[in-house]
Symmetry: D4
Subunit: 221 residues, 8 copies
């Protein structure tokens, strides 16, 4: 329809195809955009899809798969293998940050990257992180997801020999102000080498991490 101009060249230009952002679109609009995109892409993704929206979409779009922790739905080939070397390590500070961390993980996997997950290693029990330093050491790039005070990326960046993508989450209450607190924490990190994305933006973190791995891949050729 006229309501959307799918950016079919995006994958050529930037390496990543357009991805549909669900909120504010009707299931009908999402379905139409998916159909248009499936003509040209082997993977078609939509993010921020609540279960009830998926239930409707499923009846309109064939072969749709739902990643419920990540709230992502996608048209995919039967199996998806990593197409790039290296590993994207994804850490979350708390159990409640999982939805965002999974949005990052699933986006990265559907985009052809290898992912290693490490959940619930927040700074209040720092040994949980220190005992898992191999995850930090073996990653090519790290995505660190944290709500509340959002201190984890600073500690990780002080230990890591690779880029760190920090994702603040809206998990918390009171003076968290919807994720403002961890966002500011991450922007003010005294450990350099940290790039921050929007609150709850697991998707954007995965694309950035993917771009980093792809850069490596291109340079190496």
């Amino acid at each position: 329809g006229d309501f959307a101009k799918v950016d079919h060249h995006r994958a050529l230009r930037t390496g990543f195809p357009e991805v549909i952002w669900g909120p504010g679109k009707t299931p009908d609009q999402i379905a139409q955009i998916m159909e248009a995109m499936r003509q040209r892409n082997s993977v078609v993704m939509a993010t921020r899809i609540e279960p009830d929206v998926f239930a409707t979409l499923e009846t309109k779009v064939q072969g749709l798969r739902y990643y419920n922790l990540a709230r992502i739905c996608a048209i995919t080939p039967p199996t998806i293998e990593p197409q790039y070397p290296g590993t994207i390590g994804i850490l979350s500070a708390g159990t409640a940050d999982l939805a965002v961390a999974e949005e990052a993980a699933v986006t990265a996997e559907l985009s052809g990257f290898h992912v290693q997950r490490l959940w619930d290693v927040g700074v209040a029990g720092i040994h949980r992180l220190l005992n898992n330093r191999h995850v930090i050491e073996s990653a090519s790039v790290l995505i660190v997801v944290a709500g509340m005070e959002g201190a984890l990326p600073s500690v990780v960046a002080g230990l890591a020999d690779c880029p760190v993508v920090a994702v603040p989450t809206s998990i918390g209450y009171g003076a968290s102000f919807g994720g403002l607190a961890p966002l500011l924490t991450m922007l003010n990190s005294c450990a350099a080498g940290v790039g921050v994305v929007n609150i709850d933006n697991g998707f954007g973190a995965a694309v950035l991490a993917g771009q980093i791995v792809r850069t490596a891949y291109k340079l190496r050729k």
Copy 2:
């Protein structure tokens, strides 16, 4: 003068005498209040005294001493010995946080407490903190001072078996917003047992830490 009603009973009521806050007062007003207070207290303190204000005060008040890192001036007895058991451990994240950390340290010492300082142990190099765990372990109460992202109190509180008083500082720039970033970080700490005071309020942190030690002292009797 009429401009001030010194709260002479405060030491009796709360255990701590009134302390003069310098900003917004003329040197003359400060000198008059100091003279009034010296009648009844062995130690008379004023905080936030810039060097040039001290230079004037010195000519008006006899026996005044200046703690330049802490920007405190005080009338004191010749020597000040700790009057309470236990130790107040004071940690700072960066070198630039020193003025606030020293305000806390000098206030505590002038109030009769024993202080142990540990400077520049921010989370970007977490081993600096972990290598000094004896300071954390031997304190009765900890004051943790940090600017920029303010993550240090969370990590410390996850290691400490005592109360933690967190002091955000205005050290930083940009999205620090004058100390708002570390303030929110500390309020949202996922480690429990942390009490927060105002940005740059080393003085208040010392009084709170002192109250904690005094409570212990009273209970023990």
Copy 3:
């Protein structure tokens, strides 16, 4: 499950076991964490549990008790006696602040402390506070809970000879901005000796107050 790394050493390190924060977790996740924790702790607590979540939890976890005013559920021994000397006095400014004040009170009691409650003594009728000064005077540490303008901790700290833990609440409307108003009030208190915790964080206030009593207890030995 992989979604959580329970910090079993926390009680050893800090004196307080980990406590489950309910929001953002499924009842299943909460139940699994509770079962894991009950292996090693005599008391297992979860906060911010709404009645309907409790109804589900009850069917999954045996011997669960619900403190409905405090929105806390817990596995406890049949009776809980104070294990520490002294008293934690808890004051609330208004009737509407009760949920937060009770979160503090139940947390403290389940952690082995003796609690004295004093509700609805806000500053608009200051005699209600002045007539109950014995509560202030007999406490080892005070938790003061207030929404709206949050002025109560300042007045109490001016009267008390012990540490004051201030808890702003989100009770209010308009320019309260979800508790920002009382939070700022408490941080700017002209009475020293006040430590502030997050908006509505009765739990954190209780842990801090508990740490203070424990410090006293340790020093006294």
Copy 4:
């Protein structure tokens, strides 16, 4: 000049003549406006006049008087007697709030009202206020000036049988955010009957208090 349209009817319409606000005006502009206003008014006032601006104004405008604590300059008759019954009581929480409190006091006196001052009675030492209840009881209207946490108006309004005008000041630091903290405190006062004016607006408080006394005066006729 064209740069100003003096509102000569304002005194007729509202009972109070226009008053010149100094900032952003050159001394020349201020002097010209004063000369224009003196044709029709027995008292001509300008607020927010720093000493060096006054030094210049003095050379341009005859018979100018300076109230240095209040930073007000004015052309006045030789003596100014109260023209209205009743008393405007003005309270300040701290010594540092004096400039604002005096702006209110001088504005009220120059406008023909009787003023009673009570300085430095902040809530951290509540007995200082309670010992001076006669000031509260004998006033027709109260102006309460406070910085930092700004809790004084709530306590006063709970004791007073008359309207309370609350003036937040920018005195404080850190999380005071230039007076935002006491402003929010006063707006959220749980004691009803409090009207708030802008941060540091002693002038506006005096005009409002004056309107209140004039209303009384008009009704009584």
Copy 5:
């Protein structure tokens, strides 16, 4: 119950009895407080009572009356006559501000004051206000209620020869930020003589206006 300490002396001290603020209280708590208050007061009021809460209250408290536009319920004598001279004029800028304006009007009437209403006279059609100047001129005190940009009180205060109480409302959207926009507008009014209350606080405005009329009444005796 223990959950509330009714301030029975408030009417004696301040001229106005305590009024129950509904949010955050159970119907049971509200009913119990009402019964306790009816022993000593001829009028007992509760504000912010939604229709469904009233439906429950009605079954518990005898003789309860509901003012649905104002969301107030009250126990009252059969008829309520003004007990004070003068008139409280109440103006609203838009139709959508009615709930707040009526909260002010009903509070004032139940407290014994005479009220004159003038609705929907916002500044976008200034003639609507100018054509009703008699309302402004005949009032002893004015309450001006406005959302969106909140400009009405400034215009009114430039015309009125009496105190103006300004009430910002949360009516609006986007950059209104829940009423912050009109709140700031009113605080920065270039017309002096305006006292501001909290966003949507029609109740507080009425109490302040009532105090002003009572002051007049007392002075006149």
Copy 6:
């Protein structure tokens, strides 16, 4: 130099040449850019030029003229005549808003438009505006400049039969928050047909007003 890429096509594309924004540039950089632009434009302007910067520029760039109230310097032909029909009416609320209002006026005049000024007609004395309605009625577009509460554009837009460009200024103090208050006021205007520009942005207002007149001019051909 490499430091600047002058957008020489801008006049062709948008009808207005690039204008130099002074802050953050050295006088040398400004001078070089001016020399580059004078090759192709008959008028070359720089805004936000303080007197001392102009003093230096004058020695480097020939034929430079300074508009001191507007803080603009420019290279211009000897005389500048309006090149478009119609009038841009410019109103200011207070005397202190003059610098911003003059920035708008001089920009418009140097760009070839006819300007009519009307200063100091703020809403606190609404007759000053109503007595000058001919200015509103004869304009093709209005620029309305106001600080403090910024209410003037709403009132003007309710009277005007043409587009209104609203300019908030940073004139004010306290809860003006550097112009945030009038900015929000203008964005929330209940009178439609108002376009808002940045705080103190007299320049941008003039370009927008100019575009409006040029559109008219183009349509008419």
Copy 7:
């Protein structure tokens, strides 16, 4: 009823009749105002009407039409032809901004203007915009609607030779803060000639754009 004073002269004064803003009004109030307005206007509009409100209105007001994407309902003549020359071009950055863009489009069409729509041309795929430059070039005025980072108006204003009205939307999440992010972006546009309206205010943008076209129309006569 008394609750509304319809500003019947507004069309005469400003060229646009009053339009009913739905929120905060009962369907009954809306219906009564519509009936009052239909006496004097050929088109009567109400904005922000949700489907369920329309369902009720339909039963009360005859001949009502609903524009569901725009959430506008209106009484209109059978056909509406453009009454003015020129075209209002309306661009949206994303599909999710459609509701706001349609509010602008329908308001403009019902007010007698010719509209050209261009949806989903956000800056992440700039060629979508550059390929449609004819829309920019043929418009007399442009309305540019964008959420998230709101960068589109800056790019458009750098290409357009006509006024640009920028509308930030609340589409986005996290650090969008309800539309604050695109609002600030648009206000700080480095491209001059941009007037900003409130977040989501498609209606206001259309009235401003309409005023611009009408000005052109008047000047041309």
Copy 8:
């Protein structure tokens, strides 16, 4: 001294040595830290060094070099050659953003990376960017620096096939709020693959970009 604990292992752990942040340190402290670091590092850097601080440092530390546009001083070997393959492209939106862009460029060069600069290509003249697409296409990673509305990174990320590091600057005024506006713009970018650092943090951007190149380098081996 005790005031600093240089993190000598940082280069080993993270690939980048500690860098001294100048503000809040005395020249003496900076000099001492530099001397300590030169023992172990071939390059020693300090950022945010104003010219007068450098003048003092120069007399204390031998062989110090000053990069005045970047406000960086450093001890370096005679020549510094790139040690890594690939290019870090650095773009600035305006001339006034140069200081921040140069902080990034000099940091990167001193750290052994190859840099390509492209200044003054902001979105208001989009052809300036499109005409220089070779810079975007040949970079391994891009740093994009922008103040005011900060829209450049979104446009660049929509064109680039590599990671983008976005740096908001404090250049602007009014509703820029010290760089908050471009910060929010960048965080809300609808183009994915953008990592944001603190306002004015050219240093951090360079370290992050460097980590990205180093990752590529490590993966390629």
